[in-house]
């Protein structure tokens, strides 16, 4: 694609170009470099901040970044304590990580939609998807990890037999076991699927609307662009929050003694 060609010359090409990930490899070994790069970059930034704060943490009066992170931890801990009757060591960190990570990855959406791809184009990289959460690999990676953790907790708390039994007897009792099995299976599989697709769908459509706005003449762009960006701040935060709350809920449901 020609660098200087206006986006409006060929809208379909423009959008398709933007939705094309920067990928290498084929088949299973196909790796979306842009997704990996930006998600790991954001995770790295958070890890550096977390490491610096965690290293010189003090139980006196907190200040600066420690204050911010403490209020975040308090916020997540409040949700965890509401959902969990018994204390659980791993859910809090998972919830916090998801919230911060998803929030930051979603926030990449607010960077002007052409800025980073254009810069990359100048450096010879012709495809770039900036927002990792518009790649289903990212959202499914999180939701499947949580799904596996849910299975682990189910087996750990109820035992393998107990877990299987819960497939058989809910929701209609043991006499309708096959129906129950199918229903519960669908219910369980719907959890990670809906979790991942909700975030992916929201971010993907958000990105798409930004692309459509970018197709407008330059003197019209600022009005719908800024309006959508302001509205999108809400979507970004809300989706991160929903992902975290549902994660906490699913794990708490998995670690209940019995339904």
């Amino acid at each position: 694609m020609d660098n200087n060609a206006p986006a409006t010359d060929n809208p379909v090409d423009y959008i398709q170009h933007h939705l094309q990930p920067l990928a290498v490899g084929d088949g299973f070994w196909r790796i979306n470099i842009d997704t990996m790069f930006f998600s790991i970059l954001l995770a790295g930034i958070v890890m550096i901040i977390a490491y610096r704060v965690g290293k010189r943490v003090s139980d006196g009066a907190p200040s600066g970044m420690q204050n911010v992170l403490e209020s975040l931890i308090d916020f997540v801990n409040g949700l965890v304590k509401e959902a969990f009757p018994k204390p659980n060591k791993i859910v809090g960190p998972i919830g916090l990580t998801i919230f911060v990570w998803v929030l930051l990855m979603n926030a990449m959406d607010l960077i002007p939609v052409d800025l980073l791809p254009k810069l990359a184009d100048m450096m010879g990289i012709h495809y770039l998807k900036v927002v990792p959460t518009t790649d289903p690999h990212t959202t499914f990676a999180m939701s499947l990890s949580i799904f596996l953790l849910c299975i682990y907790y189910n087996v750990k708390i109820k035992g393998f037999g107990g877990y299987m039994k819960s497939f058989m007897v809910h929701p209609f009792g043991i006499y309708l076991a096959p129906v129950n099995f199918i229903l519960t299976l669908v219910e369980e599989l719907a959890k990670p699927l809906s979790l991942a697709l909700r975030l992916f769908g929201n971010m993907f459509t958000g990105e798409l609307v930004f692309l459509l706005i970018a197709l407008l003449p330059w003197y019209i762009i600022p009005i719908p662009g800024s309006l959508w960006a302001i509205f999108h701040i809400l979507v970004i935060t809300l989706q991160a929050f929903i992902f975290m709350v549902l994660t906490i809920m699913y794990i708490s449901m998995a670690s209940e003694e019995s339904h």
Partner: protein, 155 residues
Amino acid sequence: MNVTATLFGQMITFIVFVWFIKAYLWEPLTQAMESRTKKISDGLAAAEQGQKKIEQATIEFSTRIDQAKTQASSIITDAESKSKNIVEEARVAAREEAQKIAKTSSQQLEQEINVAREKLKAEVAAMSLLCAEKIISKEIDKKMHDKIIDEVVNK
């Protein structure tokens, strides 16, 4: 979406991220928050204890003050009664002394009166003798005169 290495890469990233946050942020920070909570509650408990101690000290202080006040007032009343006694004794002694002095002085006065009376008697006698001599030189009726002298002397 195909299952690709990207998915597993993202899963590994996610797991590492969670582990890192748990190890380096969540645990130290929650521990710090807990220990801060404990510190604050300890501090509040200590403050409450201090308040109690102050209250006790105030009570003790006021009882001590009361004791001291009663002691002082009893000392004052003692001193007052003692001083009254002393004044009373002094008054009695002074009165007795005064009476004694009055008695002796009146006795002396009487004596002096007596002495003066004797002197007066003697002088009267001498004067009468003188008178008699003068009368004698004029009249020689001794009998009459003797009678007069006797009357005078007897007086």
